[in-house]
């Protein structure tokens, strides 16, 4: 009876993942993804990984969903997913083969032992894997740049926004260049 919650959570996560992939609307896909993230975080919590569960729930179900909805609001309604080039039966066969290979290679492993809490996540993260923390800091700075790219819209300068003096000088340069194109070519220099 211990595995009943895990089975229910697994079925829900796989169903919502399938709906996220097959849903024709991107907003529905984003919401199904949030549900998958919440269910996976509950599974992580039940497994004892409470810190990772909290991070997954706040970042995966919260931040990423907000970013997806914001990006969809910027992109607009023209978001229909076109049909794929790869035939769906072929994709299904390939995926079943890949997932079956994963299951076949990992299922014969040892059953789940009682995990020994010898080291806490904080100790491992700050003492053994300090490089990961630095990499995460660099990645977060990259994410800030990505947020700036997400928020920046391309601005096209209209003709009304250009000052008249600049417009006249530019048009004068263009007229001068066009006049220069019609000049007769100079005779080649005589070789000495």
């Amino acid at each position: 009876m211990e595995i009943v919650p895990y089975v229910l959570l697994s079925l829900g996560a796989v169903f919502c993942a399938y709906k996220a992939v097959r849903s024709p609307r991107l907003l529905a896909s984003a919401l199904y993804l949030a549900v998958v993230s919440a269910l996976v975080s509950v599974m992580l919590f039940l497994l004892g990984a409470t810190e990772v569960a909290v991070i997954e729930l706040s970042v995966g179900a919260g931040l990423v969903t907000v970013l997806l909805v914001y990006a969809l609001s910027m992109v607009g309604e023209d978001t229909q997913d076109p049909p794929s080039y790869i035939p769906k039966p072929l994709a299904f066969v390939l995926v079943v083969a890949a997932a079956g290979l994963v299951g076949w290679m990992t299922l014969p492993m040892l059953p789940l032992p009682q995990a020994t809490r010898d080291l806490l996540l904080v100790d491992v993260l700050w003492k053994q894997r300090a490089l990961d923390v630095w990499i995460q800091i660099v990645l977060i700075f990259s994410g800030v740049l990505g947020i700036l790219g997400l928020l920046t819209e391309s601005q096209t300068v209209t003709e009304d926004e250009i000052e008249p003096e600049v417009l006249e000088s530019v048009s004068a340069v263009i007229a001068h260049q066009e006049a220069g194109l019609h000049k007769p070519e100079l005779a080649p220099k005589s070789e000495v």
């Binding site: 595995i3 970013l67 910027m74 492993m109 789940l112 020994t116 990499i135």
Partner: protein, 101 residues
Amino acid sequence: MTLFNVLIVTVACLLGVGLYGLLITRNLIKIVVVLQLLVKSVVLAFVVAGNVSGHPGIGESVAATIIVADTIVAVVALALAVQVRIRFGTLDIPKISSLRG
């Protein structure tokens, strides 16, 4: 069926759904969604592997790093998708390719 089998089957099914989505999807934003699905299965796999090996702290720390990296990937990919939509007017990958031949 043990708890470990249930978790591994869940990881394999989520990986399969994610790979299927990657194969049939042509929309840039939906590809980000599918990549998130794949990474969730990988996070679950790392935590399970940490429990199986008897060192759950290591698996959890790697899973936390993966979550951070995946979020940054999603942010940058969404920024790229928005800029592509503004510049090319579409999110369909074959239509934004400028290479011909």
